[in-house]
């Protein structure tokens, strides 16, 4: 046999994974990386390269302060979320059984709930006739409604509310893995409880804190919907500025430059804080995390950044360590005041869930305007929703786009995840690429896709929307399925092959059933991602038919119509159904 043949045959198995990953990589490259490149070229005025737009951005009045304000807002939200979220995660981690599941649901349901719904909820809560003002008047703090809505306070309240789960979930997932026996061990060495917490527990949860902070900061500086809806005119953030440049000022070059500035800040932040997210430290954290240590760096890096994964994991791992948990449960560091911590946790969870409840109540209001509590009950807003063809059309379009993009993302994503799992090298290079669509600030994605899709005639088409949403869907599926595959024992596949099973049969009968949970979880996230997505849709939706979130967003901005409360209530069903679906597959798997 010739040497050439030999090298070729040696290489083929290594090429196999690359071939499986190719469709997803090509897709992300074509529909995301190229537009991003386009955006960059636009920002430097290609082909006559100049930094004019950047100079304009940094020198012309108004832009720099917005940038500074955006970064400060990002930091503030991150710090607030950490301060609120860490004790909450700690309290949940301390709890066991049904109580814990309920507490978790109170974090995860808001996390999965549409951003628009939650933003709308705060409009309802903070308005002049809203719950907050009514309460303040009731207890005599003030005699007239105070202006809260459309101030930066409202923007911050809304942002913190929306970001809190992104902080809690990664921290919780790391806390979950911390060996509970370490604390009694520390105490046995004469360490008082609070010191044991500071010296042992806190350092071990740093990876969780870090990934929570990165997530929140990145999302916060790219935040668009919530500050735009709740904040005042004087607190415009960079994302809003970019949107205005594109949609009103038609200054795409400047928007591109601003988007790149935002991207660079994100990248710097990732570089500084994300670089070594899961090195030696995570090795210390229990079995769950250790299991992944063999996989590529890219995977570990990405893994620690993604709240959905944490959510899926936190939901899943419950049964195993239950007895262990109860063994050490009565051992909180803050032993002097466990009651205080729990009260705090309940307040926090109330903060998370209350807005949705208020929206739910409002949706049955018989009043013609937003006022809490409603003076009577009626079904009028549901009637309005179901009889208005524009709402129904929007719903139909959303479902259609979400279904197709989920299917596409599933196909591409599962193959890619399978391929990356085979090859750590591939994983190192491709995982970051496949995940950028959900790491890059959403407003940047919006501008980039807008620029790219204009050239291809995809603006205002279903195809454009589907492609855009498939990008994020691929990211979610790749990350969740990869995590599942990391827990999958590849030797089982080998065993099947040794029993004369064709590789495809082995995949279908052994691998697929065993990673099914991950695929379904990934598909649910991909569906919700598409179904809720509004920023990119607004950019590339053009004058085409609107999706449900697009129509809601328009209505929220223009007329605060209680029909939205009815829509929101219906949308609350989505995460609930998603969780039920997840539970069912999990039960079947057990």
């Amino acid at each position: 046999m010739s040497a050439d043949m030999r090298t070729l045959r040696d290489r083929l198995p290594r090429l196999g994974p690359a071939l499986l990953a190719l469709p997803a990589v090509a897709f992300v490259f074509a529909f995301f990386a190229l537009p991003m490149l386009d955006l960059f070229l636009a920002s430097i005025g290609w082909p006559d390269i100049s930094l004019a737009s950047y100079t304009e951005f940094f020198t012309r009045g108004g832009y720099l302060p917005v940038l500074v304000r955006t970064v400060i807002a990002g930091i503030t939200v991150t710090v607030l979320c950490f301060l609120l979220g860490y004790p909450l995660a700690y309290a949940i981690n301390m709890t066991t059984g049904t109580k814990r599941t309920v507490m978790l649901l109170f974090v995860i349901v808001p996390y999965l709930t549409s951003l628009l719904v939650r933003t709308y909820a705060w409009i309802v809560m903070l308005g002049d006739g809203g719950l907050v003002n009514k309460t303040m008047i009731f207890i005599g703090l003030t005699d007239r409604p105070v202006q809260i809505l459309y101030t930066s306070t409202a923007a911050y309240v809304g942002m913190v509310h929306i970001m809190l789960p992104f902080m809690v979930l990664p921290i919780l997932s790391v806390m979950n893995g911390v060996d509970k026996r370490l604390i009694p061990a520390a105490k046995s060495m004469g360490c008082p409880p609070f010191r044991a917490f500071l010296r042992v527990f806190l350092p071990l949860t740093v990876p969780g804190i870090r990934s929570g902070c990165i997530l929140v900061f990145i999302l916060a500086i790219g935040f668009y919907i919530t500050p735009a809806a709740l904040g005042g005119l004087s607190d415009v953030l960079l994302s809003e500025l970019i949107e205005i440049q594109v949609s009103q000022a038609m200054n795409f070059r400047l928007a591109a430059a601003a988007a790149f500035v935002l991207l660079v800040i994100t990248a710097l932040f990732l570089l500084i804080f994300g670089a070594d997210v899961s090195s030696t430290r995570t090795g210390l954290v229990g079995g769950d995390t250790g299991r992944f240590s063999g996989r590529g760096v890219g995977f570990r890096w990405a893994r620690s950044l993604l709240a959905p994964l944490a959510a899926a994991e936190v939901m899943r791992k419950r049964r195993l360590a239950q007895w262990q948990k109860s063994l050490y449960r009565r051992d909180p560091f803050l032993a002097f005041r466990p009651g205080l911590l729990m009260t705090y946790a309940v307040l926090c969870l109330g903060f998370l869930i209350l807005p949705s409840l208020v929206v739910l109540v409002m949706s049955f209001s018989s009043d013609p305007f937003l006022s809490f509590p409603p003076s009577g009950l009626s079904m009028q807003w549901y009637e309005e929703f179901f009889t208005d063809p524009s709402w129904i059309a929007a719903l139909g379009k959303s479902v259609y786009v979400a279904c197709i993009s989920t299917l596409l993302a599933c196909g591409l994503g599962v193959l890619a995840a399978y391929a990356l799992d085979r090859s750590p090298t591939l994983s190192n290079y491709l995982m970051p690429l496949l995940l950028t669509p959900i790491i890059v600030p959403i407003v940047v994605v919006g501008v980039a896709l807008y620029g790219g899709y204009v050239d291809w005639g995809l603006i205002g088409t279903d195809a454009g929307l589907i492609f855009a949403h498939t990008l994020g869907g691929i990211s979610y599926i790749v990350i969740i399925v990869s995590a599942t595959l990391a827990g999958f024992d590849r030797r089982l596949e080998r065993a099947a092959l040794s029993m004369k099973a064709h590789p495809f049969t082995a995949f279908r009968r052994i691998t697929l059933p065993l990673i099914q949970y991950g695929i379904i979880a990934g598909a649910i996230f991909a569906f919700i991602h598409s179904f809720d997505e509004v920023v990119v849709a607004t950019f590339i939706g053009g004058f085409g038919e609107k999706t449900l979130p697009m129509k809601m967003w328009e209505d929220i901005r223009h007329e605060i119509n209680p029909t939205i409360a009815a829509v929101s209530t219906l949308l609350l069903l989505v995460p609930v159904l998603g969780l039920v679906g997840l539970r069912l597959t999990q039960r079947r798997n057990n």
């Binding site: 046999m1 030999r6 045959r9 040696d10 024992d489 030797r491 089982l492 080998r494 065993a495 099947a496 092959l497 040794s498 029993m499 004369k500 099973a501 064709h502 590789p503 049969t505 082995a506 009968r509 052994i510 059933p513 065993l514 798997n589």
Partner: protein, 378 residues
Amino acid sequence: MEQDIVALTSKAERSAVQTMRGTAVEFRQISKSYGSFEALKDFDLTIRPGEFLTLLGPSGSGKTTTLMLLAGFEFPTSGRVMIGGQDVSKVPSWRRDQGIVFQSYSLFPHMTIKENLAFPLETRGIARKEIALRTQEALRMVKLEQFQERFPGQLSGGQQQRVALARALVADPPLLLMDEPLGALDKNLREEMQIEIKHIQERLRLTVLYVTHDQEEALTMSDRIVVMNEGKIQQVGAPVELYERPRTRFVAEFFGDVNIFLGSVEASEFRADDESFTIPVCTGAPEGSACGAVRPEKIEMHKWGERPAMNDSVEIGGEVVDVIYLGQMSRYTVRTAGQDVVIKCMAAPRTRHFLVGDAVLLSWQADSFVLLEQGATT
């Protein structure tokens, strides 16, 4: 054993016994590299039909690699793998016909025991009725009928191991590969399973390639043992041969305690470098520096002054410096004029119990002394 034979009632199994013979396996001039690292070099080995052959060697010596080549999960860089006279060097695993028991058992966690056993039959396109029949037989063979509806996670380690064995055998493959199948079991269970596996192999006359790094296991189960080191075969032979007549120092030392003496051969006589003894060796032995080995249990030990019971070829005086009680045996270290010598004696009546400081006389017979090959020593 009798029970097992009684269990052989069905037609399928009886016909299996009558017609099935394990296949022959041949490795021809195999080498296998991972990148620039050569995991196997000049590997030549024939496994006879129906033979129980064990690969034995330290960690990283290439045992699993050899097994993977035969299983079709890895392919040789050069050389050929032949099964039943056919070149299968490039045939992937799923087109070969063999049963494999993996160290981790690799039972499919989402299938019941019965479904696990049915899997290899389904992939061979066997009719449903016969599948039911044969899974029942296999279950009976490993005495696990009552567990068939359970999932692997609900069985003990030993039971899982049995299921893995039954699953590897249910499709009547002519070749069975096992990679440290008993590694995860405790000592008693391991011994029990060793006997069970051996019985099944003898009954079905399977060709078995077995991997272990436990020399005792290799000695009790194998027809022949292949000792490997650093990707090379050190010696192939029956257990007795390897234990009693190791060819190299590596093999001698691999099977437990051994006393190694450095010296030289001159005129069919081995002379220890420390001048403590000379011993006749076979006439063909090459002259020059050499080394030889004596197993500790082949050495007789007497109180100084007592006459040796037999007329042994070598007698050395010394002093006991260490005694370790091992249960059945005691292990003594005796300091002689030359090197320290290790001796193992059966725990004997009180009178013959030696203490540290006792002056003793050591003796052994000429045929207990094995002259080792030079060069391949480590």
